[in-house]
Amino acid sequence: MKYSYIAPRKKSALTQEMQLMLSFFSITILMLFFTYTFLLYKNYFFTNDKEFISIQKSKIESELSKIKADITLINQQKVTSEKIFTQNMVLKDSITNLFDLVPDRITLSEAKLLKNGLILYGVTPNKDIYNFMLEAPLHSIFHRTYSSFYPAKNGWLRFVSTNYIDEDKDRDVRDE
């Protein structure tokens, strides 16, 4: 203040219009910043989700392959069980048939089922009954049949009948 009675008012470039414009720009920049931050957070969130999902996916895939292997195994087990069941059925039938073969007058004391044969232990009143009533049907079933006797205390004969099925012959017969 040199010569004027009053001092000039302080001038500022921040006029009302400028303040309005600055506020507008500030709000815009803030909104952009918040949007950017939000997108950044969302992106981070999605990346995490993606990683989690991909881990889950690989985990599920590995579980799936494991389940598939289990399914295969179970299928195999099923096939095996069915096979065993069938075999058991066959065996049961065979045993039933075997016991049907044994006449009433012959008493079996033991029977051993082999893979390709059958060993029977029992008591017969005499050899003829055995030969006619038991050995004959056994012959029709097995390829080789061997019988051996030894006397029991009561005068009857104990017998051991060993019967085999030759697989080669059996195969040939099937082939034919």
Partner: protein, 348 residues
């Protein structure tokens, strides 16, 4: 630093308001660092501020936040004091109700605090940045003369007369004369004056021989003391060519050279009345200076007039022939002077 940067981005707008008797003159200058870009001027039929004026000013001030509103003080309660010493100020004027400023470390100018508050209130819509005293405008205008001359300096505006007497940059006397009141009483005053002076207005030319200035002097109490002065007591002796030649030794030849380019207005009835009014006021002021014991009375030979309104040659002739003064008239553009002060104030 940041303020300077922002300041350099904008132009500066200087708005001058000069209040006349019944109108306000607004001068606007838009400046950049390189210089003046454009300027506008308009006059409004108000002595305060009306919507038209407000619109005119704001249309330019809204272009830049760096705008400065300047007003030339027209307070009736203003004046000057020939000292800057706070202890001596009250000897000349009661400064408790005035705002005062020291100029050039050896004289002060003051104005009414109430009038300053009134200005700030009146122009509250646009705000006010600077209020300059007409005394400082006058002193700044004649700074080349004030430092080395002993003379009376007069600023003539439409609404006032501003009279200061300097002796080699030392202020001796100063007075602000408001001529606004003349408007109200103009008709009655003029009719009285015309009857007394017996002037033939039909001719539209004034013969100084018809004017009896001595009658006017006798009517003024302040000039009664002039009778005591030897120089004025034998005033008729000065009419001789020999005495006039003695005066001519003190004439400012340089100023006379520049004055040749000055074009004085054509004398009309209105101009004559106003100029005679001014002449009377100047005469009274000079009489006051000689008579008041507060001031160091010295005989004034030279008068420098800063003419802002376009005075007629009559005023110069009155002063020269009636009061035996060497009168030099310079045209002053108040807007330019106010702008110069405004720029000094805001350091442009």
């Amino acid at each position: 630093m940041l303020t300077r940067f922002f300041e350099s981005l904008y132009n500066k707008v200087f708005v001058n308001i000069i209040v006349n008797n019944s109108s306000s003159e607004v001068y606007i200058e838009v400046c950049s660092k390189k210089g003046v870009l454009k300027h506008y001027q308009s006059s409004f039929e108000t002595t305060t501020i009306n919507n038209e004026m407000l619109e005119f000013i704001t249309s330019y001030t809204k272009e830049s936040p760096y705008y400065y509103i300047t007003l030339l003080d027209t307070s009736k309660e203003q004046g000057v004091i020939p000292t800057c010493d706070k202890h001596h100020l009250s000897f000349y004027h009661d400064i408790s109700t005035s705002e005062h400023k020291c100029a050039h470390k050896n004289w002060s100018y003051y104005t009414s605090k109430i009038d300053l508050y009134d200005i700030e209130k009146r122009y509250a819509d646009i705000g006010m940045d600077m209020v300059f005293s007409p005394f400082i405008v006058l002193a700044n205008f004649f700074k080349d003369k004030i430092d080395s001359h002993f003379a009376m300096y007069i600023l003539i505006t439409e609404s006032a007369l501003c009279v200061i007497i300097f002796e080699e940059s030392q202020l001796l006397y100063g007075k602000y004369i408001n001529m606004n009141y003349k408007q109200d009483n103009e008709e009655s005053f003029l009719s009285d004056e015309i009857e007394e002076m017996d002037i033939s207005l039909e001719d539209e030319s004034i013969d100084l021989d018809d004017i009896d200035a001595d009658d006017d002097i006798e009517d003024i109490d302040e000039l009664e003391a002039l009778d005591d002065l030897d120089d004025f007591a034998d005033i008729e002796d000065l009419d001789s060519i020999k005495d006039i030649d003695e005066f001519s030794k003190n004439r400012d030849v340089e100023e006379e050279f520049f004055e040749r380019d000055e074009v004085f207005s054509e004398s009309t009835n209105d101009n004559f009345n106003e100029d005679y009014d001014r002449f009377t006021n100047i005469k009274n002021s000079l009489g006051n200076f000689y008579s008041d014991e507060k001031y160091e009375s010295k005989f004034i030979e030279n008068v420098y007039i800063a003419d802002a309104v376009g005075v007629t040659n009559d005023l110069k002739r009155y002063l020269e022939e009636e009061m035996f003064l060497n009168v030099y008239v310079r045209h002053i553009d108040l807007n330019i002077e106010l702008l110069e002060l405004s720029k000094m104030e805001v350091k442009v």
